[in-house]
């Protein structure tokens, strides 16, 4: 009787659990299953089990290896280097800056973050086009101009992702820096530690947990960017900005190989889970 009443207390969990099982756990399980089949988009009565063939095929496929490489470049450039460093720099500068400048900068950077993904894609497409604003500025400064979306597409989409994602790091680091007691910074200042040394020896070690969390979340966000690149370059020219999500989409829909596309998706999901698990460990004490 008592046990039953206690169980009844957890009844309100049911709608959430049903929704999560049907629409999140279900597709993940289905993903694992069809990654091992030769399922195609059309004209096939039933698919058959092909074991590891999709994965073996992937690792021999130059287009797949190209996508892995581009995803790596995109993630390192835009998430690890770009968003993370710029976000920390902005947060640190904001602590010293005057209030109007701080509010203005925060407003601009956060607006870029809140904008819908597709709109951000258009704005940066216009910015990087040959006739766009970047080349106008470069011309004005007498620097060499380029057709960025053609010559350096990965760099362009990486910058786009920095533009769109830096606000998150800025917010995380602002909160973390506010958590450092003023006495510690002042004591170091009295001891004559300069700005860079204070940053390296005091600030960074004190916010290392936030750095870990931020890197994990940035990387996970960057791994699943699709719309931004799709709008800016469609993965092109050729396949020169085709990261894994775009490669997966192309295999599944343009080439009708759902099984193969899903095998690639499963690999992406595994990498994501790995980062997710590391993130959980970093948060371990807080749950």
């Amino acid at each position: 009787m008592r046990a039953r009443r206690r169980a009844a207390r957890f009844l309100p969990l049911t709608p959430a659990v049903v929704l999560l099982l049907l629409f999140l756990a279900g597709p993940i399980a289905y993903c694992v299953y069809i990654a091992f089949t030769d399922l195609q988009l059309t004209g096939q009565a039933h698919s058959s089990f092909v074991g590891l063939a999709n994965f073996r095929r992937a690792f021999r496929d130059d287009a797949f290896l190209n996508a892995v490489w581009l995803t790596l470049v995109f993630t390192v450039l835009s998430s690890l280097v770009g968003q993370n460093t710029l976000g920390l720099a902005l947060a640190a500068l904001m602590k010293r800056a005057s209030k109007p400048v701080r509010t203005f900068t925060g407003g601009v950077v956060i607006t870029a973050w809140v904008l819908p993904e597709v709109v951000a894609g258009f704005l940066l497409y216009a910015f990087f086009r040959r006739e766009g604003t970047l080349n106008a500025v470069l011309g004005w400064l007498h620097l060499p101009r380029q057709n960025w979306l053609f010559t350096l597409p990965v760099l362009a989409v990486s910058f786009a992702n920095v533009w769109r994602g830096t606000a998150f790091s800025m917010l995380v680091y602002s909160a973390a820096l506010d958590g450092i007691p003023a006495e510690i910074t002042e004591a170091a200042e009295v001891d004559g530690a300069g700005g860079w040394r204070r940053m390296w020896h005091i600030t960074l070690p004190m916010i290392r947990r936030s750095i870990g969390t931020n890197l994990m979340l940035n990387t996970l966000q960057t791994l699943s960017v699709f719309g931004l690149i799709w709008v800016m370059t469609r993965g092109g020219p050729g396949d020169r900005s085709q990261t894994l999500p775009l490669f997966m989409y192309e295999q599944a829909f343009q080439n009708s190989m759902i099984g193969y596309g899903t095998a690639v998706a499963l690999l992406l999901l595994l990498v994501g889970s790995l980062f997710s698990a590391v993130y959980l460990r970093l948060l371990r004490t807080e749950v």
Binding site: P12, A16, A112
Partner: protein, 275 residues
């Protein structure tokens, strides 16, 4: 010492303004082009101000139907997410059980999974169970994908509501559901607002989910229709594209400002994500 501080502040101000200027360029472009009769791809002062771009796109086909679709899709999914999250958060926050911790860890794990990666299997699954190109299927998937984070946030906000008031209600014979609806939820209004706005903003801007799960042009939300518009006409009509972008983005920016105001600065969401 004071002079030193003043010069450091000036250096910080100048560096921030340089970064803000670079970040602002694309935003300035969209605002100016929207009212420019001859908009191009670069930032420039318009040679006249016009509302023709807005006139051209404010038609049912280009603007009203997609925005209405977005509203129904994201509004419905947000309502479902918030309702499920509030119900689920209550026992997790109020009653102790051995299963709470594993459940919350699973939820937290799910919050950071790349949803993009499962869209191909979701498409294949939806084709098999006849949910492809249906509003309800897309709403359910949207709600499920946003639910882990919503549960996590709601539970954290609910932990901040003191138990004493509810205990008084329990002794008066109120059920758990009654005390949740009458006492706890009203007390965590700002928290619920954050969860609602955050879920809505995420879905409003999402491109990939409706792009994969919806097929009929008349069901498309603005995030997908703007892409078709761009492909077909935006290549020449930059002013119209900019005007459409402004209209489509305004609601989420207003919602964000509303929530950030209420919670004192823009740090609420960043702090909440941190745990």
């Amino acid at each position: 010492m004071a002079r030193d501080r003043a010069s450091r502040r000036l250096a910080a101000d100048l560096s921030l303004l340089a970064v803000a200027g670079a970040f602002a360029l694309p935003l300035v472009w969209v605002l100016l082009s929207a009212v420019d009769p001859h908009a191009g791809l670069r930032v420039r002062v318009p040679d006249g101000v016009t509302l023709d771009n807005f006139d051209a796109i404010l038609t049912p086909e280009i603007t009203y139907t997609p925005l209405l679709n977005s509203l129904v899709l994201c509004g419905g999914a947000t309502a479902l997410t918030v309702a499920c999250a509030a119900l689920a958060a209550y026992p997790l926050s109020r009653f102790r059980s051995r299963l709470n911790r594993p459940f919350l860890l699973t939820v937290l794990f799910a919050t950071s999974l790349p949803i993009t990666a499962i869209m191909v299997p979701v498409y294949a699954l939806f084709v098999r169970v006849d949910l492809i190109d249906t509003l309800q299927g897309t709403v359910f998937f949207f709600a499920a994908s946003q639910l882990p984070f919503a549960i996590w946030l709601t539970k954290n906000f609910m932990d901040g509501v003191p138990r004493e008031l509810e205990e008084a209600a329990w002794t008066d014979g109120a059920s758990a559901l009654q005390s949740l609806v009458r006492i706890v939820l009203p007390l965590m209004g700002p928290g619920l607002a954050v969860v609602t706005v955050f879920s809505f903003v995420m879905m409003w801007g999402n491109f990939f989910v409706p792009f994969m799960l919806l097929l009929s042009p008349d069901r498309m939300p603005a995030s997908v229709s703007i892409n078709d518009f761009f492909g077909n006409r935006g290549m020449v009509a930059y002013g119209q594209l900019a005007a459409f972008s402004v209209i489509y983005s305004t609601p989420v920016i207003l919602l964000y400002v509303l929530v950030a105001r209420r919670l004192g600065g823009g740090f609420a969401l960043g702090g909440a994500v941190k745990g």
